[in-house]
């Protein structure tokens, strides 16, 4: 059975400009969630739930971390949550990253709020002994978050559009700095993923997509996108959000 669970806000803090880190307590999700999966969170008074990637899990403390940018009304409401408040979530939702645990080096490429699921992934890869490198793209200095955390996992190249922090440029430029790797894992806005999959078309890769969801469970076809090879379509909410590079039409 899939579940809609009650989660308790355990902590919330601002980690960058309009960007918040929230930890939530829930035994079930903390036990079963995999990197790349998301929570489909209810914000009281709204018709549609908000999908937010799982950025980390503490299986002992049974907490789940999410990182989100405040954009509209729903994420504002989440940002206003305080410790002890309850949130209703469908999760863990979606199909996460798959990878070869014996791979030597993985490259994580994240843009903005595409970075959160890569942190959880990186930790799992490290646990299996995979060497991890990361390229993280942000708009500017004030948007940067989690740099030290990624540094703690492996070499990390921070890119800012305006050069106000780290290296000036896009994540595609960062990839040039990062050297060799076996497989890449990327999450960010569609134009970034297009650029990355083009640039790295000779490498195996996985990408995680964002789209406006309806149900979030596969029932409404709100998130269906054309598949590349054998035709047909994929639902981002259940077949994804993670796909093999080239599997879907971006």
């Amino acid at each position: 059975m899939k579940k809609c669970v009650e989660m308790t806000v355990h902590s919330i803090q601002q980690v960058a400009f309009n960007t918040f880190e929230m930890t939530l307590k829930n035994t079930y999700i903390a036990q079963v969630a995999m990197p790349g999966q998301f929570l489909h969170l209810m914000a009281e008074g709204h018709t549609l739930r908000r999908p937010l990637s799982i950025a980390d899990i503490d299986r002992r403390q049974e907490t789940i971390t999410i990182l989100f940018k405040q954009i509209g009304q729903g994420t504002k409401q989440l940002a206003d949550c305080r410790e002890g408040m309850k949130l209703d979530a469908i999760g863990p939702a979606g199909y996460g990253f798959s990878y070869d645990k014996s791979m030597k080096t993985a490259l994580l490429i994240g843009g903005g709020v595409g970075i959160p699921p890569l942190y959880f992934l990186g930790k799992e890869l490290r646990r299996h002994g995979v060497h991890v490198k990361a390229v993280l793209g942000f708009q500017s200095e004030k948007h940067v978050f989690y740099e030290e955390k990624f540094q703690g996992m492996g070499e990390t190249y921070v890119m800012t559009n305006d050069g106000s922090y780290g290296n000036r440029g896009f994540v595609t430029d960062g990839v040039d700095l990062s050297g060799t790797f076996v497989q890449y894992f990327s999450c960010g806005p569609i134009p970034m993923l297009q650029a990355i999959t083009n640039k790295l078309k000779d490498h195996p890769g996985s990408i995680s997509l964002e789209a406006r969801l309806g149900c979030g469970v596969g029932a409404c076809f709100a998130c269906a996108i054309p598949a590349n090879l054998e035709g047909g379509y994929r639902k981002i909410c259940t077949d994804g959000p993670v796909f093999a590079a080239g599997e879907v039409v971006l």
């Binding site: 899939k2 809609c4 018709t47 739930r49 469908i90 789209a211 149900c215 029932a219 709100a222 998130c223």
Partner: protein, 304 residues
């Protein structure tokens, strides 16, 4: 005990609550949340003759107490639905309603008759009101003569009771209802979504790739109630009511307005358990307002 059962043409319902077409796929997803045997019936996602890809994304937008969708009837086509989806639903002791769509009268007729041979499908819902496709759909639903014509043809071709799903995007809903009643419809299903639009300020253009979409959810409930109330006074076939239902109180409001059963759409997205929860709450709500059965309440909101 409060009696929730309702008998409608083709549909012997243990309770009046069913998921609405397009909001429940073909049942698999929500069957992972609860046992579908609790439902009064299941209305499947629209079926067309061939597979349809639907519109580009974004296909949904949130609005105040509602949402817009422009899925565009994406579905694998009637044959694949019968082969791959209906068998799953047949495993439950719940009548299945097939939602039939198309671009031409011929396509509607072909899809409808394809369901003749399918035992677990107990009724058709004729979707002449989808606002999100270029051809067919809503044109049939805003012109009484076209609506009557297509109803007649489908009735001829089908051996199943036909519920015609009316569009609220009309000047005169009663004229539409009467036209399809005279053309032989066994029941009505109302309302489908209301055409709307949202402009995304960040890019300055319509948010949905299809530009317009259908408005659903609590925002449209007063419109649905009004239309059902008006139609109930003028037609004699039963009405499956929908539009913004999310509680057992809402269900009672629809029954009082004249619906004999109800469908729940958008609310499934907010709360995946909404249908079984409504079914659980309904007996108490009926009792609280003085009704011993669903049948007792139907149409009781009408002023003498």
């Amino acid at each position: 005990m409060t009696n929730l059962a309702v008998d409608l043409p083709g549909l012997t319902l243990k309770n009046p609550v069913m998921p609405a077409s397009g909001c429940f796929g073909f049942g698999r997803e929500y069957s992972e949340f609860y046992d579908l045997n609790q439902l009064g019936a299941v209305i499947m996602k629209a079926a067309t003759g061939d597979a349809r890809d639907g519109n580009q994304i974004p296909r949904v937008a949130e609005t105040a107490s509602g949402m817009l969708n422009a899925i565009g009837l994406q579905n694998p086509g009637v044959e694949k639905i019968i082969a791959n989806e209906v068998p799953f639903l047949s495993g439950y002791d719940v009548p299945v309603v097939a939602n039939v769509a198309g671009s031409t009268v011929g396509e509607y007729v072909a899809v409808a008759s394809t369901f003749n041979k399918v035992k677990s499908v107990k009724a058709l819902e004729l979707n002449i009101s989808c606002p999100n496709v270029k051809d067919g759909g809503i044109q049939f639903g805003t012109n009484p003569d076209m609506a009557a014509g297509i109803t007649e043809k489908v009735k001829e071709a089908s051996n199943l009771p036909v519920y015609v799903k009316l569009s609220p995007n009309v000047s005169d809903i009663v004229a539409m209802a009467k036209a399809v009643e005279q053309a032989g419809a066994d029941g009505l299903s109302m309302i489908n979504t209301i055409t709307g639009m949202q402009i995304n300020l960040s890019c300055g253009k319509p948010l949905l790739a299809n530009q317009t979409g259908g408005l659903s959810g609590q925002a449209i409930k007063p419109i649905a109630i009004r239309m059902i109330y008006e139609v109930k006074q003028q037609v004699n076939i039963p009405i499956i009511g929908m539009g913004g239902i999310s509680t057992a109180e809402d269900v009672l409001e629809f029954l009082l307005a004249g619906a004999s059963a109800v469908a729940v759409g958008t609310a499934n997205f907010q709360n995946p358990y909404v249908c079984p929860e409504i079914i659980k709450d309904l007996p108490d709500i009926l009792q609280q307002y003085g009704f011993d059965s669903v049948n007792d309440a139907i149409g009781k909101g009408h002023v003498a």
